[in-house]
């Protein structure tokens, strides 16, 4: 019997019910984010009581200025929110792609100050125990991956990216964020096997295997231009929540003034993993047009800019 999303069969997008996405306007990290989280998650009636939850933020690199990684105050607020919803355990875990020293990265964003002692709370997915996972889709040539047990065995997986452009695939949001679960301890820093498989295609296969249950996007301050590391900060003033990562990412693109249909992996994900079309997404909270903040993109991605 299927126990987690990861055990369930994939349903083609056209057979799926409407997805729900909540957009909240949040001006700064100083706001009461816990209240925002509680209010924003309420419409989803998430059944996490007694369950294990893994929050997977986007931790890429040393980031003392807070431009690159998911902000720790957002992570801490989400953790507290899921605990209040009755989750038995809420872990935070990621496997940074470019630097083996995960401890240095989490210290650079002062995650310990917001979460308390990291032992028992934070999982370095790069060096977690792994299990062989046969990939259920074959968008790329990858047939299997060894993935972290902490991620594949969890009851409820939450992708928590930062709202950013990406110099190879256009945007990095909740789906691209799943690259961080691929363990560097098996595949290196960077996880170059995914690049060789085709980044767009690997994103699809990885999301089909990991099946994040929920997404929370930190768009309070995002990144535009040459993201995900060398871009410019972009104060976007939003948090975006949703039970369908494809719908969440499509909504984020629209908030960024970009066409999700032009993002190769999102366009394909819209047929197999979730909803891309606006009329299949129940929008709650702020309207997209009211929070839209056009992001600059590299010349290679000018085609993404919505007219």
């Amino acid at each position: 019997m299927a126990t987690t999303m990861r055990d369930q069969k994939l349903i083609p997008s056209f057979q799926r019910p409407l997805s729900k996405v909540v957009i909240r306007r949040v001006g700064s990290y100083e706001q009461d984010l816990l209240s925002v989280m509680v209010e924003s998650l309420a419409p989803f009636e998430l059944r996490v009581k007694g369950k294990s939850v893994l929050l997977k933020p986007n931790l890429v690199s040393l980031d003392p200025k807070g431009l690159i990684n998911t902000h720790p105050v957002v992570i801490a607020a989400a953790r507290e929110c899921f605990l209040r919803m009755g989750a038995a355990q809420v872990l935070v875990g990621d496997g940074p792609a470019l630097d083996r020293d995960t401890e240095a990265i989490v210290e650079s964003i002062r995650l310990r100050e917001y979460l308390g002692a990291l032992g028992g709370t934070f999982v370095d997915l790069n060096i977690d125990d792994v299990q062989r996972v046969a990939l259920p889709t074959h968008a790329s040539r990858l047939k299997e991956l060894y993935l972290p047990k902490s991620c594949m065995g969890v009851d409820f997986l939450v992708s928590m990216p930062k709202l950013k452009t990406h110099h190879w695939v256009g945007v990095t949001l909740s789906m691209k964020n799943m690259f961080g679960i691929v363990p560097g301890g098996c595949y290196g820093w960077p996880k170059n096997i995914l690049h060789w498989a085709g980044i767009d295609r690997a994103i699809l296969d990885l999301n089909a295997a990991a099946r994040p249950d929920f997404a929370i996007v930190d768009g309070i301050v995002g990144m535009e231009g040459n993201g995900p590391i060398q871009g410019r900060s972009k104060a976007s003033g939003v948090l975006v929540f949703g039970n369908d990562p494809v719908a969440v990412d499509a909504t984020c693109c629209r908030v960024m003034g970009l066409r999700p249909e032009g993002v190769t992996y999102l366009a394909r994900a819209g047929t197999m993993l979730g909803h891309l079309q606006a009329d299949k997404i129940q929008q709650v909270g702020e309207k997209i047009e009211d929070v839209r903040q056009p992001f600059e993109v590299l010349p290679e991605f000018q085609r993404l800019i919505a007219s």
Binding site: D101, I127, C186, N226, Q230
Partner: protein, 318 residues
């Protein structure tokens, strides 16, 4: 940095932690109770190698640790990253380096080294280089593909750290049987490292420039590249990179990187930069996250005499 304090830290915290973290199969996972992996087993064995010469208890721990490593070698001579994987990877370099440091010149080690010599990255094959001439992306991250290092996993691109580990492993071998292969590959690998150095010194994973923007160096890759290239300590690139590391040491936030930096400064006969934190301060501040690799690096950093032998013939200062 107070080396006595580091030795005390290693003796009080790290070595006992490593002894207790050994799994029943003899290997080590990355954390206590985690499944044994070749990489973490190598780090633990490197850390315990010296004390195994002096203590029967540690000798037993060490010997038990060697057994799963030997049995996990694949038929082609390589080592996989985790149990069950059927393809070897960069970990082979670490296994060979560790075994060579222990004086092991067995057939198993020679097979591992031969695998390293035969493992070419795919990004710089003649066919790929030909195709790259016509790629619209060829100027996005310009590097010289005539230089060839090592990849993390077979069939992918050269990167700084696996290239550095392979160079360390190949340098540690004293066998003449591989000499011809080794010389050419070492030259190409070292050339790749210099080609991938960030402008101004230091290394990141291997992207010195992307879209015209200089890459930021990182502590870990810089240390491993410097250790692999330590045969030319006065070369301009090495000097600028060790100077970058000296500047970065003040801001190091983790004991693992700090310990590696100490090893690197010792290898280059540099004194510990003023203002840099101490290992014990960082451990106290962050809390010990029970990481086998970190504990091993702290132990190694406290024992530069042993490091001199582990790193091969090049001198390592106390």
């Amino acid at each position: 940095m107070d080396s006595e304090s580091d030795k005390s830290l290693a003796a009080r915290v790290c070595l006992p932690f490593l002894r207790n973290a050994q799994n029943s199969d003899g290997g080590w996972g990355f954390h206590p109770g985690a499944e044994s992996r070749a990489e973490s087993t190598c780090w633990a064995l490197l850390a315990l190698m010296e004390s195994a010469q002096e203590s029967a208890e540690d000798r037993a721990v060490f010997e038990r640790g060697l057994a799963p490593l030997r049995s996990s070698q694949l038929a082609d001579g390589s080592w996989p990253a985790s149990a069950g994987e059927t393809a070897g990877c960069w970990v082979t370099s670490l296994c060979c380096w560790m075994l060579a440091a222990n004086g092991d010149d067995s057939v198993a080690v020679q097979r591992g080294l031969q695998w390293i010599c035969d493992d070419w990255p795919s990004d710089s094959s003649p066919w790929r280089r030909f195709l790259a001439r016509f790629s619209s992306q060829r100027n996005v991250a310009p590097v010289n593909y005539a230089y060839r290092g090592w990849s993390w996993t077979p069939g992918t691109s050269s990167w700084v750290e696996p290239t550095s580990f392979a160079l360390l492993a190949l340098e540690a071998t004293t066998s003449g049987r591989l000499a011809a292969d080794v010389k050419r590959r070492r030259e190409l690998g070292a050339a790749l490292l210099y080609d991938r150095m960030c402008p101004g010194g230091g290394w990141n994973a291997g992207n010195p420039m992307v879209y015209g923007v200089p890459g930021e160096p990182l502590v870990g890759p810089t240390i491993w590249a410097l250790l692999a290239l330590r045969g030319e300590p006065t070369r301009r690139e090495n000097v600028s990179s060790i100077e970058w590391l000296e500047g970065a040491a003040v801001g190091i936030r983790s004991p693992g990187s700090l310990a590696l930096a100490k090893i690197c400064f010792a290898a280059y006969e540099r004194s510990w930069p003023g203002g840099a934190p101490s290992l014990s301060d960082l451990l106290e501040r962050n809390g010990f996250l029970e990481n086998v690799g970190v504990a091993a690096c702290i132990s190694l950093a406290s024992n530069t005499d042993f490091l001199a032998r582990a790193l091969g013939s090049k001198k390592v200062a106390a």
